[in-house]
Amino acid sequence: MTETLVFDFVHGEVLVADADGQRRVVTDDLVLTGLEAPGADSSS
């Protein structure tokens, strides 16, 4: 997951922040894409 979940208790809302820091309020259930672990090391 390349975005960050933000639990903003100051404003009482849950947001998603992208890699550039842009935030949007989560209004529906979120799909956490990718069972990210185990992470892969493809170096040789």
Binding site: M1, F9, V10, E13, D29, L30, E36, P38, G39, A40
Partner: protein, 134 residues
């Protein structure tokens, strides 16, 4: 689903192949000159469940406890589902690692904790210390 861990960091960033870069692992001390002050806690959280749980809807809950171990703000919840990823290994417990940031206002110095829970299971507690910078 359950929360396996939530590691407080100074900053997190997604990298290639489902891994993350974490700066300042176990950053759990916050020193501020004045109060009230917003405390921002980036964390890496690992969620795990059984294969049969993947198709279900889940709920992630976060709360912040103050120095007296009672919530200082209403808890926040997020409904979520999981989609299979490229690195899933058959027979392994399905997991997802999620960068999560908690932001709350500390009215003064003291011990706080961020509690992260999934599907009503016992929360993973992240203790934090907020101190007055002299």
């Amino acid at each position: 689903m359950r929360v396996v861990y939530a590691i407080p960091c100074r900053a997190t960033e997604a990298a290639a192949n489902g891994t993350f870069v974490a700066l300042g692992i176990e950053t759990n001390m916050f020193r501020r000159r004045s109060f009230p002050e917003t405390i921002r806690v980036p964390m890496l959280a690992k969620l795990a469940g059984q294969p049969g749980e993947l198709a279900a809807q889940h709920v992630l809950t976060m709360s912040v406890l103050g120095p007296d171990l009672t919530p200082i703000v209403p808890e926040l919840t997020l409904g979520f589902a999981l989609a299979a990823g490229p690195n899933e290994v058959e027979g392994w417990e399905p997991v997802v690692v999620v960068p999560i940031t908690a932001e709350f206002v500390a009215d003064g110095p003291g011990s706080f904790s961020v509690e992260v829970a999934a599907d009503g299971n016992p929360p993973y507690s992240v203790p934090l210390r907020v101190e007055q910078l002299s």
